[in-house]
């Protein structure tokens, strides 16, 4: 998905993991994914650089669809669709 498409996307759940370091955002994602239904979109806020590599890998293993990243000033928004 393009950045524009992602910005217009309505997430079913926003998980704010800003200010936590590895493995904080991953654990937040794991917790959050239990609260959304299959096919719904979850968004993760993270200020940890490594998360941008970690979450796509996690999605691949867990068969969730990774949709992309939107960069904000001091953090990233990572979008995924639950399998």
């Amino acid at each position: 998905m393009t950045t524009e498409e992602l910005k217009n996307l309505k997430s079913n759940l926003v998980v704010d993991a800003r200010g936590t370091a590895c493995p904080g955002p991953l654990l937040a994602a794991k917790k959050g994914i239990g609260e959304v239904n299959s096919g719904e979109v979850m968004e993760i806020y993270s200020s940890d650089e490594g998360t941008k590599n970690d979450i796509p890998k996690w999605c691949q293993k867990m068969t969730h669809e990774f949709l992309g990243i939107v960069e904000e000033d001091s953090y990233s928004r990572l979008f995924l669709k639950k399998a």
Partner: protein, 181 residues
């Protein structure tokens, strides 16, 4: 030719199903070191694996037992040697030292300050998270006897049991990942 191919396919399917049965989505770790940094690394890998929905077994042995001691608890009926061991080893994860650059404790408190600044979870917080994620902690009974630790002076942790090397081997044999830390 087609028959040959079908035969090979059947063979392959049989082999794959055998392999799948042999290993589970499971991580087994021997946590041997009582150094604060190594325990932290073990706990980060363990909680990360739990986020992957993997079952995690941690086998705590030798010096790592110090991390499981509850500083508020004590046990009765210890021999002189057991009391000595208890005094000389760190009482709880809060009192662990760095494996390098400890500098009589200065290095350890410095790194704790930096960890706080970088929002890295402390070892105590990691244990709490691990408990919530259902990570299994097995304590080596032999090490516990050697060092004179008793079950009642260990931390309150939801999934903790005392066992021997056979439990670790059974878990490890079925695991995709095995680590010694």
């Amino acid at each position: 030719m087609t028959q040959d191919f079908e035969m090979q396919l059947k063979d392959l399917q049989a082999t794959v199903s055998l392999l799948e049965k042999g290993t589970k989505d499971q991580v087994s770790m021997v946590v041997f070191s009582g150094d604060m940094d190594k325990i932290l690394a073990a706990m980060i890998i363990a909680t990360g694996a739990a986020a992957y929905d993997m079952k995690v077994n941690l086998f705590f042995t030798f010096w790592a037992l110090s991390a499981l001691r509850d500083p508020r608890k004590s046990a009765q009926g210890k021999s002189f040697m057991e009391k000595m061991f208890g005094m000389m080893l760190p009482k709880g994860s809060r009192n662990l030292k760095l494996s390098k650059m400890n500098m009589s404790g200065m290095g350890t408190s410095m790194i704790k300050g930096i960890m706080k600044k970088n929002k890295v979870a402390s070892v105590e917080e990691m244990f709490r998270t691990a408990g919530e994620l259902g990570i299994q902690i097995n304590i080596c009974e032999m090490s516990m006897n050697l060092m004179g630790f008793k079950r009642e002076e260990m931390i309150d942790y939801p999934n903790m049991s005392v066992c021997g090397v056979a439990t670790f081997l059974a878990d490890a044999a079925e695991s995709k990942i095995q680590l010694f830390i």
